[in-house]
Amino acid sequence: MLRVLSAAAAVIVASFGIAFAASEAEHPENHPFSFESPVGSYDMAAVQRGFQVYQQVCSTCHSMDHLAYRHLGQEGGPFALYMVRSHETGEMEPHVGKPAHGGTFVDVTENPYVRAIASGVTIVDVDPNSGQLADRPGRISDRFRRPFPNEIAARASNGGAYPVDLSVITSARHGGADYIRSLLIGYDGTSEGTLYHNRYFPGGKIAMPPPLAEGAVPYADGTATTVEQYATDVATFLQWSADPHMEERKRMGFVVLAFLVVLSGLLYLAYKQVWRGESH
């Protein structure tokens, strides 16, 4: 009876495979991101470049409400600053990103890179003297500047479409960073009314015009300024922004698992010892 059942189950499973085949959007292209494996970490240079692309391109329409400028300089952030003793001079020198060994973390309030990024932004705030809304330079405690004061204004400026908040976008979409990267390179150059063809977007037509153009964002580190590179960098940055504690999480996980494996081994021996000579 069980054999008949399992045969029936096999037939059912096989036919499901066929039923799954039909789908609207193309499956995102699988890119070998550095953060994917259980021990993988972020390519911080890519996160920095991705932030630059976000600042210069994406942020004209997309907010990132859950991120503050200070997050960029926290431990595990793209502009985290460490003081490292130089081999030649013996002096302490600043080093962006966690050095291979040693180094003391510089608190984000003392981080000149993050301060420069924040003060380069203009924030609308209540003026403490007049009580009126006024512009002021950004502070590291500010959330990322919003391109539009509210959803109505955002829709009004974008032909009725609402540019979504990008803080956790890689978590909020099936396919994560692969999907974001594929979407950004998935335009075929044609459009229909106000919608643009994109083979990775559910339904195939998206309101966002192709945001990236070759050479649009100059890179200081000599990385190729292609659309594909931009897309990869932005996807990496957005993955970091959705999951900023990933590296710490994986590091701690390794220690916890190592401890638990040893503990379970010892407990197994203790259990065997206790039950030795007991028939059961």
Binding site: A9, A172, G253, L260, V261, L267
Partner: protein, 531 residues
């Protein structure tokens, strides 16, 4: 079962305490000297894991509640703040979210264990029922908790479930509005859900205490299902059961940790990272994995049963699927506890297990998804190319005569050589008849996998033929098909059949295997058992 207490206070303080509050004695009798059957297997270690889960959920939950803001505008952001800014908030939040799944995973193993080994039979009926109460409270707590992050799934899950209760006759609407605190899921809902989500775990803890009490009164069942006969059949709980539980629980915690540290979001839904939006329904609304089987039962009915409409039938079936568990001790008529000795019941149990898994699978799928169909969806389009289009008015004497008048006009046009006709009714007794005469009749066949794709194909043919064609006659054919909903219904029927028919009948008819003498009679002598 426990017999007289063997606790002897050693120090002056414990002697003093024992006279006034024998709490050390209680602990000693319950968790140290408590006699445990010596033949328990690893399936009996899940109780310890469940206790751990409850503690983890309460402790992490209390910390989360210190940072969480139950407000429709701030709840989502407050969870993000916990993840980003609260020291180790990411760890605590992950543990709580993953912990819920682990809790349910363990409780399902625990329940299937009880089902297989007949742990619900006398004298353990109340023990089982208390367990069902705990499970019911867990479902409620899990559902309430899933609402709190206020993502899309939170909001729409809450909307779907509260609306379900509205299907109940007479009282449904009131209960629904009372639960939501208004006419839709909104600020009052999140406030009361938060309050209840904080309350229920402590209620669970209380019922767990009763569950453990009942367990220690009746004594544990065991894989043989034969009651412990003497002290020789048991070992003291500590260190024997304690060490085994600790070892098994550590393995469970390893799995827990793999999820927490390496795939914290794997068990959740991506849509819950989108803040709740009451104006936008997500493409699919699904509960968390542990409630999917019940969700499938809920959606299994796509037809009305007499006076019960399909929605109410689903709701009743869903509640009945948990309710039937409460009656199980009296539904199973077999005098043999363990399915080890029930060869036929064991096969039905295995099927039941796979039916539950399949129900879970169905719950996560689009109910309209076609599993089998005898043929493709197909359509025949007929149109005329190059004909003469004429238009004439139809005037009936009254609304009642419309049908006669229009069919007479169509018949006349057909007589006159029209190859295609179309009637448009413009008023109660007026309309227009458009006819095409002459020209060349063309037709096309299209077929597709689904009804939606077929419509696309039809549109495509129409576009190819040109907009100038005045009208198409389309004949659509839908094949006989078997969808997820039909499959869910079959599975639901088996689910209830198992409890209501198979177990009661089988218990009377089945001839159990012989229990080996070594199990039926105590063969170990007292001295050996005490060692």
């Amino acid at each position: 079962m426990s017999g007289p207490s063997t606790y002897e206070p050693k120090s002056a303080f414990t002697r003093w305490l024992d006279r006034r509050l024998p709490i050390v004695r209680l602990t000693h009798d319950s968790f140290v000297a408590y006699p445990t059957p010596r033949n328990l297997n690893y399936w009996w270690t899940f109780g310890a894991m469940l206790s751990l889960c409850l503690v983890v959920q309460i402790v992490t939950g209390i910390v989360l509640a210190m940072h969480y803001v139950p407000h429709i505008n701030y709840a989502f952001a407050s969870v993000q703040r916990i993840e980003r800014d609260v020291p180790f908030g990411w760890l605590i939040q992950n543990m709580h979210a993953v912990g819920a799944s682990m809790f349910f995973l363990a409780v399902y193993v625990h329940m299937f264990r009880g089902l297989y080994y007949g742990s619900y039979k006398a004298p353990r009926e109340l023990l089982w029922i208390l367990g069902c109460v705990i499970y019911l409270l867990m479902v409620a707590t899990g559902f309430l908790g899933y609402t709190l992050p206020w993502g899309q799934m939170s909001f729409w899950g809450a909307t779907v479930i509260t609306n379900l209760l509205g299907a109940l006759p007479l009282i449904g609407e009131s209960i629904k509005n009372w639960l939501m605190g208004g006419f839709s899921v909104d600020q009052p809902t999140i406030n009361r859900f938060f309050s209840l989500h904080y309350l229920l775990p402590f209620v669970i803890a209380g019922v767990v205490a009763l569950h453990v009490w009942a367990l220690h009164e009746a004594g544990q069942n065991n894989p043989a299902g034969v009651e412990v006969k003497s002290k020789a059949d048991t070992v003291p709980f500590t260190p024997h059961a304690t060490m085994k539980d600790l070892f098994a629980t550590t393995l469970f915690v390893i799995m827990f940790a793999i999820f927490v540290f390496y795939m914290p979001d794997a068990l959740g839904h991506a849509d819950n990272f989108i803040p709740a939006n009451p104006l936008q329904t997500p493409p699919e609304i699904v509960p968390e994995w542990y409630l999917l089987p019940f969700y499938a039962i809920l959606r299994a009915f796509d037809f009305n049963i007499g006076p019960i409409d399909s929605k109410l039938a689903g709701v009743l079936a869903m509640f009945a699927s948990i309710g039937v568990l409460f009656l199980l001790p009296w539904l199973d008529t077999s005098r043999v506890r363990s399915m080890r000795y029930r060869p036929i019941a064991r096969q039905f149990f295995v099927i039941f297990f796979f039916v539950c898994l399949a129900l879970g699978w169905c719950g996560g799928k689009n109910p309209g998804l076609i599993l089998f169909k005898v043929a493709d969806f197909s359509a025949t389009l007929t149109w005329v190319e190059g004909g003469q289009v004429t238009e004439q008015a139809i005037q009936a004497e009254g609304a009642a005569q419309w049908d006669d008048a229009s069919s007479a006009a169509v018949a006349a046009a057909r007589e006159g050589g029209a190859t295609m006709t179309a009637v448009t009714r413009t008023g109660a007794s007026t309309g227009t008849l458009r006819t095409v005469s002459g020209g060349e009749t063309r037709n096309a066949q299209v077929s597709a996998d689904t009804a939606d794709l077929l419509e696309e194909e039809i549109t495509h043919v129409k576009e190819e033929a040109g907009q100038a064609m005045p009208f198409f006659s389309i004949e659509r054919r839908s094949p006989a098909r078997f969808t997820v909903t039909n499959f869910s219904l079959l599975l639901t029927i088996y689910y209830f059949l198992f409890f209501i028919v198979i177990l009661p009948v089988l218990g009377l008819r089945e001839r159990p295997n012989r229990v080996p003498d070594t199990i039926a009679k105590p063969v170990l002598n007292e001295a050996q058992g005490a060692s």
